[in-house]
């Protein structure tokens, strides 16, 4: 029974929903709810990267650029164009998807390190735009973000944000799990293992890679929009190179290709700085050391390793 549950793709979703439902009952203060909301939001962004890196096997070192697109979309829409925040979020996500489509078409022909530098360059360019166009984006100081409203309901308070972000993540995870089990998901995994073999059995490799890139960008943009609305402030830091690296680290530390792994990885990297606030001087050193240690000693990531161990013990 337990083995069947571990093998089923619904297990991750059920476990995630259970944790989401139980956490507010044990959270000692609103601060913990806020950190949890941040975890759900970054997990959503990491999930997009999981589809790109874990399913399709394509690396992106500039994914925070899309996070920034969503975040600035939610900030700029109401502030400069007079659009409602929710509409701005949807438009920003659509725009991120469109940009990913246009940029991805030429870029995704590249492989390995070349794809890494191309995506990195793309992310850097977006971060530079956010940094430099002060008239629109507020420059390095960033800009304030209007409160998110849904059908006249203004989302305020840690608990409301907790549920909104948790709901968004749950929907995102459900879609990602469905994609994994669909013909498209199988095609993506096929080209992950061997592009030539995938093309040989009739997978349109270029189109599938592109769709994974676009889906990943839309996930990241949605997460960025939620992040900006939750914080009420957005700075170019959200789209920096370091942010891109942290997203990749979330995906790999949690477990490449695992939906629940993206959540665990996000939790790890969001909670870590909070836990280290007393040793702020050492935060960077510890973060770097942890990334190295995980990559060397647990290359499969936390979730797949635990899952394999459990399956071995139980069967």
């Amino acid at each position: 029974m337990l083995v069947a549950l571990l093998r089923s793709r619904l297990a991750a979703l059920l476990l995630l929903a259970a944790i989401m439902a139980l956490f507010p009952l044990i959270a000692p203060s609103a601060f913990y709810l806020r950190v949890a909301a941040l975890v759900w939001i970054f997990a959503l962004a990491a999930l997009g990267l999981t589809i790109l890196m874990g399913y399709a096997g394509q690396v992106s070192l500039g994914h925070a650029g899309f996070l920034g697109l969503g975040a600035y979309g939610v900030a700029i829409g109401p502030a400069h164009l007079g659009l409602p925040p929710l509409l701005s979020l949807v438009l920003a996500a659509a725009l991120a998807g469109l940009i990913a489509y246009l940029v991805g078409r030429p870029i995704l022909r590249l492989k390995g390190y070349y794809l890494a530098i191309a995506t990195l360059g793309f992310g850097m360019i977006l971060a530079l735009v956010f940094n430099s166009e002060s008239a629109v984006t507020g420059g390095p100081d960033g800009m304030a973000v209007a409160r998110m409203t849904v059908l006249g309901w203004r989302i305020t308070g840690a608990l409301n944000w907790y549920w909104v972000s948790a709901g968004a993540l749950l929907v995102g995870a459900w879609l990602a799990l469905n994609l994994q089990a669909s013909p498209s998901g199988r095609a993506l995994r096929a080209l992950h293992d061997s592009e030539v073999a995938a093309a040989g059995v009739g997978v349109n490799v270029a189109a599938k890679k592109l769709s994974a890139f676009v889906i990943g960008a839309v996930y990241a943009a949605f997460a960025g929009g939620l992040l900006a609305s939750l914080n009420g402030l957005i700075t170019p830091e959200a789209s920096s190179f370091m942010q891109s690296i942290e997203l990749v680290a979330m995906v790999i530390i949690g477990g490449l290709g695992s939906v629940f792994g993206a959540v665990v990885g996000a939790a790890f990297l969001v909670v870590l700085p909070q836990a280290l606030t007393a040793f702020q001087e050492y935060e960077q050193a510890v973060l770097g050391l942890l990334i190295m240690v995980f990559m060397i000693f647990l290359p499969d990531g936390i979730v797949p390793t635990i899952r394999r161990w459990l399956l071995e013990r139980l069967s």
Partner: protein, 290 residues
Amino acid sequence: MAEFLQLVFSGLTVGAVYALVALGFTLIYNASDVINFAQGDFVMIGGMGTVFLTAAGLALPVAAFIAIVAAVMVGLALHRFAIQPARGASPVALIMITIGASIFIRGVAQIVFDKQFHSLPAFSGSDPIHLGGATILPQSLWVMGGALVVVAGLYAFLEHTLLGKAVLATAANRLAARLVGINVTVILALAFGVSAAIGAVAGILVTPITLTRFDVGTLFALKGFAAAMLGGMGNPLGAVVGGLLIGLLETFGAGYLSSTYKDAVAFVAILLVLLFMPRGLFGGRSVERV
């Protein structure tokens, strides 16, 4: 014309530094297939180490020497404790390991040193030299001359010493190198050590012009990586040309287009080159085996 020449001078100066960083990337990549994102942090260690050692009263050459040795130690440790245990990991995992190493080195540097910007006095005065209507700082000549010496030295080492040929052999085919009796592990460590030394030299030479801080490594690594890619990953000549090109593009972009988008100019150029020549300027054709 004078303005053009001025931009050429400053472009070649930063370009020389990028070329050295790119050369470090190339050396390690050839020997081990690893892209070492901590390459820029060797530049930082060279600069910051020299700043703090001269502040402690050491003469500049002594301080510079110790800083280079320190960078080499860090490079060897990186190989021994991070790269060697992860043998056989995927390229993405290796990238993340060296990025983790880079963040770690930066984190340690901000504790060991501090978070301020630092500079070194120029090696031989700061009276600009007039040349064809433009001016050039003596330190720029140091940077370009230093880069030239390093490139020539590296060439001589690789082509005319037995150890250098062992490095080339390892780069060409690791298994065959092992079969003819080359200790590949030692060669890989050597590549990391030499790369670290080259990075540190670049950092020491450029600090009087650009200042240094615990986190300057990131941008040097990105530009150096871009330069190595532009030239064609794994080609030392390509790395040098790529570095100089990135330096020139950047200063011309800043001079004639917009200084805010100076960094973007470099990256746009790389994107274009990658799209039209996916293997870089000097990269060979690739054949994919299935």
